[in-house]
Symmetry: C2
Subunit: 149 residues, 2 copies
Amino acid sequence: MENIFDDNYFMKKALMEAEIAFDKGEIPVGAVIVIDNKVIARGHNLTEMLTDVTAHAEMQAITAASNFIGGKYLHNCTLYVTLEPCQMCAGALYWSQINTIVYGARDEERGCINLQTKLHPKTILKGGIMADESALLLKRFFIERRNLN
Amino acid sequence: MENIFDDNYFMKKALMEAEIAFDKGEIPVGAVIVIDNKVIARGHNLTEMLTDVTAHAEMQAITAASNFIGGKYLHNCTLYVTLEPCQMCAGALYWSQINTIVYGARDEERGCINLQTKLHPKTILKGGIMADESALLLKRFFIERRNLN
């Protein structure tokens, strides 16, 4: 039997979060945190609504996952996020000692790869899962916003 | 007349926050954010109490300052923090476009300088203000914790 709980399955959940952000007028980035094929935390970018630069999707998902687990380390967890994490989020993920980070679209300019943010040595980073869908949603957002202004 | 509102004056306020963290059994790091010689936000490390790796002193101070200002950018603000910011906090400060960061003690291993976290081009970083007092408080904390275990 085919395993339906693959990376695409959970990245779709992260994309649903990104769409919620889009509908709120926020830069559409979404994240979920998964343990044993179960979503234990969700988050989407809320920097405008909360007027807070720290309110990235990943940061909220990390806080929610820690709350669910009752501990601050996210060992055995996988984060799915539609956009490659920035320095802040990658720095938070470093502290969390998360097992795996799966991102969708690359962020060449502000992402943790080109800026060489240090991840925990135990953390696996992989990307490109539903990258086109994630990038398209961001592109749509910026086009619509440009047209509104 | 001597200006009492110098870096030492505000770093003492950050150290008071670090002492509050110490008394709560948290790694003693404290921060304040200042605008026009006025403290508009305070924060101290609460990662244990909140079981949340994102609850660093700086992160809470950034959120509180944005809330006070009613905007997410911390232009014209100075952060005083007793320990050199980590990647996460420096990454958050990047997004905040803060004017100045003043830290106390260096963090050679996990601080933003050696890990080369990118700050906003407009941000000034300076350190070594009451570095000995900040480092001593951290040292005392780890000695006492070792003796308890």
